[in-house]
Symmetry: C2
Subunit: 208 residues, 2 copies
């Protein structure tokens, strides 16, 4: 660590983060990351055992800041809990309007590593998504959703990850506004205890 500015390891991680997010895991070579970090490949391999190791470390490093951002978006939004969750989607829509927006790194990585079920990066990705789900679930529980809290959180996760997938494909952020409305509707339905309100569906509480 000869430069006091930023430890070498962090610089590598940051370079990897940018490149992985921009082009994907497989499309980026270790050489490219080393060059972007201003470091030789051998140095990179001193700090990380393998490329897979680096990928996993990258996702682990993104977990906390990502969750924190979602919490901030929630906190900053006005209105009841439905409106505040919808606010997350609207912030997401705003981000997605940037041409350089590249969707959810956790989801994309999980697609690229589909044939390596035990990969540590997949474990990190699952943990991240579960953390968000748990956070949402606790929010709904506090708001009085009762047994509906978890299934409701799972519905929101479906809309969230669905947004990432659909907008990545169509490049049309308005889907995230659609998702915001749908999320708000589902939350309002659950919190008003409106199960069985004229519909013949199995009920909002079933988780399968």
């Amino acid at each position: 660590m000869k430069d006091g500015a930023q430890p070498t390891r962090e610089r590598i991680l940051q370079a990897a983060g940018k490149l992985f997010h921009r082009d994907g895991i497989r499309a980026i070579s270790v050489d490219a990351i080393a060059e972007k970090a201003g470091v030789t490949k051998r140095t990179l391999y001193y700090h990380f055992r393998s490329k897979d190791d680096l990928i996993a470390a990258h996702l682990q490093a993104r977990d906390e800041p990502n969750l924190t951002l979602f919490k901030r978006w929630f906190d900053e939004a006005e209105g009841d809990i439905a409106a505040k969750v919808a606010g997350i989607f609207r912030h997401l829509a705003q981000s997605a309007r940037d041409a350089k927006w590249k969707g959810c790194g956790f989801l994309r990585t999980s697609v690229e590593l589909i044939n390596l079920p035990g990969h540590p990066a997949l474990v990190a990705a699952r943990a991240h998504k579960k953390r968000i789900e748990d956070w949402l679930s606790s929010l709904f529980a506090e708001a009085g959703a009762g047994d509906d809290a978890l299934p409701l959180a799972r519905r929101i996760m479906l809309l969230l990850d669905g947004s990432f997938a659909v907008v990545l494909l169509h490049r049309d952020p308005s889907y995230m506004e659609t998702a915001a409305d749908a999320a708000a509707q589902l939350i309002a339905d659950s919190l008003s205890g409106a199960r069985g309100n004229g519909s013949d569906l199995p009920g909002a509480a079933s988780v399968g």
Copy 2:
């Protein structure tokens, strides 16, 4: 075309389909496809200009059968339109219980080709998803959803692609049951003309 059994081109396409779906686009080499098809690589390049060409042809070939399958699942389900759409999700859940299930090839391909915006395979993927959305929209219009038909179809698409993404990550098909319930709920809400039923959200008709 010396063998009457199956034209070479179709055999290549079929081999590519299996391998691409199993391991992903980038993970499969042209050599592997040629070998699986029982053909030399040079022959493959006679029938397809490039690997990208083959990828695009592969997705185009999947468009029709995929849509047909969804329609069959819809037709075969019992109950009102909400229950029939939910039936699609439940069939999907059944498929996803197979350990070899690999999610949606259109979505996965779009992730792998994210840095090639004009790639013909992406065009094919978008067209496919739009066809499903249009089909759903027409169903809802026939059922009397009026102006809600399209936004409702988009909500279902979000749940559908969200299911693919989430189940691919967590390997937990029960999310598709959750999606089935959510879809049925959203459809029932729209068709009962229940806008403004106690909730303060922007309304089911806004598309953004």
